[in-house]
């Protein structure tokens, strides 16, 4: 006979699977957000209205060698950002699939959450171009979504452990 899980024990199983899925999706989402933020930065610099100099507020009188060093530093920072996102994302996916037991990645996830939330007020700086309000709103939405996915991932990881203990 076909069976569809129901009842107390199976209900726990349902909830466990739900939180497991949340952690996995959270992990994938973090990786995608990381990749997108890098693509967006590069596209804005190459094809947008402002150059890298304008974005960083560098005095045009500074020599080209200084710009070169700055570009190298930017690339390193972008790479580190990507590694940070990838570490959290891959760890979350492995944890959800039962391939990893350590939850240390949640520390880095919490740190990323704090950094993201703290950066949101910066979008509403009065010195920003008022014509770019629509892009600011969507950027805020992106950061809020990323914060939500981090929070969801952290909460779901703890719930997974709790339910696993209840199930014995």
């Amino acid at each position: 006979m076909d069976t569809i899980s129901k009842g107390n024990v199976e209900d726990l199983g349902c909830r466990y699977r739900k939180y497991q899925k949340n952690v996995e999706i959270g992990g994938k989402a973090i990786i995608i957000f990381g990749v997108w933020s890098i693509i967006k930065f590069i596209a804005s610099v190459l094809l947008g209205q402002q150059s890298l100099r304008d974005l960083l507020g560098i005095d045009p009188n500074y020599p080209e060698q200084f710009m070169f060093v700055l570009v190298v530093i930017m690339i390193v920072l972008l790479a580190l950002t990507m590694v940070w996102h990838a570490y959290i994302g891959v760890s979350a996916i492995k944890y959800a699939q039962g391939l990893k037991k350590s939850r240390f990645f949640l520390v880095w996830a919490a740190l990323m959450l704090v950094v993201t939330v703290c950066s949101i007020p910066g979008y509403f700086d009065p010195s920003n171009n008022p014509e770019s309000l629509d892009t600011v709103i969507v950027s805020v939405l992106v950061d809020l979504s990323m914060s939500f996915s981090l929070l969801d991932m952290i909460y779901s990881s703890f719930m997974m452990t709790r339910i696993k203990r209840q199930m014995g």
């Binding site: 006979m1 076909d2 199983g13 909830r15 899925k21």
Partner: protein, 411 residues
């Protein structure tokens, strides 16, 4: 389901229901033909294209997924392969858009099944064959919908096969690959399924593509998580379902042959038909729908009851049927064929799609309806129209409109 069940098993069921060898062959042929009667085939023989009961891989690749295309796809697949179980299902806190797709989920013993069997009553053997195909598929394809839908037909990648090893149930994770030409590897648990497509209306999200051929293997027992199930897992027991499908086919064909006793309500009172063909409910306000009945005013009503199976057949042949169903093989045609030949004492010829083509092609314009394929076409259009109409009546536009055109029955 595959040819083993739609052709050979249907032959066995038809013979056990009391049809002759020749009649059983016609019914079985029609049942299998539902899986092959595509627009390409109909175009080749000059038959009306709206009688298509299936779509080939090629046709599906070309199928549009705009409103018209989706309605066309749904009409074919919901009417013949994924008959909806409950067009009025309720689920809390769901949008109307979601519910319209949810209500198309296939399952056995629904109201539409009763109407499908009733629709075949008094009609040709070809129509009976079509009804048997639809009935059998409600068991195999349950939990999937005959409309492209990611939110209904998607499954999670955690698929587990439940194997019987020395009397003990063992779980083995299924490995899926996306290679339509490669055969499934039963020994190593490597199966083909359709690629994940994030588009809601992608043709890859039609039916049980994401579960591969599992629903069509009679031996398969497996566990998976459907997209619509709120994280519940389903354990599908194909041998048990196929056994029920077989027994129900026998019961349905006995009903169609007029062999069943006049139906009575649970209070023991015979139902006298008022001629209005209304649905019958259980007595004493039970409210349980037990079947629709046919309109023969003043006569005793005989109605098709869903949820009924021919227990006699199961008592006599159950062990043999279970042996065939649980044997681990890609297709069980040989076993069913042997069983059928033992039952009838006649040779069950292999299915040949070209058997009746010449008859149809060479017939005159007026004579086409009297040919085998002509009768099949009438049955197919009738079934498709009935299901489309019912889906539309339920407020669901996924199958579009249908228009009833009454014609005199052929003499």
């Amino acid at each position: 389901m595959q040819e083993d069940f739609h052709y050979y098993a249907t032959y066995c069921a038809a013979y056990l229901a009391g049809y002759s060898h020749e009649e059983s062959l016609e019914i079985a042929y029609s049942a299998q033909f539902v899986d092959l009667c595509s627009r390409t085939f109909l175009s080749k023989i000059g038959a009306p294209l709206n009688a298509a009961t299936t779509q080939l891989q090629l046709e599906m690749m070309d199928a549009r997924t705009d409103i018209i295309g989706l309605q066309d796809i749904t009409r074919i697949w919901a009417a013949f392969h994924f008959l909806p179980q409950d067009l009025y299902a309720q689920k809390p806190r769901r949008s109307k858009r979601y519910m319209q797709k949810y209500r198309l989920i296939c399952g056995p013993n629904g109201d539409l099944l009763a109407k499908t069997v009733e629709n075949a009553r008094g009609k040709s053997l070809q129509h009976v064959g079509i009804a048997m195909h639809v009935l059998a598929d409600t068991w195999a394809h349950r939990y999937f919908a005959g409309t492209p839908s990611l939110v209904i037909n998607n499954t999670e990648h955690d698929f587990v096969e439940l194997l019987d090893v020395d009397g003990e149930q063992v779980e083995r994770p299924v490995k899926f690959r996306h290679s339509p030409t490669a055969a499934d590897d039963l020994e190593n648990g490597i199966y083909t399924n359709s690629l994940f497509q994030g588009n809601e209306n992608s043709i890859m999200n039609l039916g049980h593509g994401r579960a591969g051929h599992f629903p069509d293997y009679s031996f398969a027992k497996y566990r998976y998580m459907p997209a619509w199930g709120d994280y519940q897992e389903i354990e599908k027991d194909n041998p048990a379902d196929y056994e029920k499908a077989f027994a129900q086919m026998v019961y349905a064909m006995k009903f169609l042959r007029g062999e069943l006793e006049p139906g009575a309500s649970s209070a023991g009172v015979e139902n006298i038909c008022s001629g209005r063909g209304a649905e019958v409910r259980g007595a004493a306000g039970e409210g349980e729908r037990i079947g629709s009945y046919s309109c023969i005013q003043g006569a005793r009503c005989v109605f098709f009851r869903t949820g009924k199976y021919d227990e006699e057949v199961l008592d006599k042949y159950g062990a043999r049927i279970r042996e065939i169903l649980t044997k681990r093989q890609l297709i069980a045609s040989d076993d069913w064929k042997r069983f059928g030949e033992e039952l009838s004492g006649h040779t069950v010829e292999d299915f040949d799609i070209e058997k009746y083509q010449e008859q149809y092609v060479n017939a005159t314009k007026d004579g086409k309806d009297k040919t085998f394929i002509g009768k099949f076409i009438r049955g197919a259009i009738s079934q498709k129209g009935m299901v489309t109409e019912e889906i539309h009546k339920s407020g669901n536009m996924h199958a579009g409109f249908s228009k009833l055109k009454r014609v005199r029955a052929l003499g």
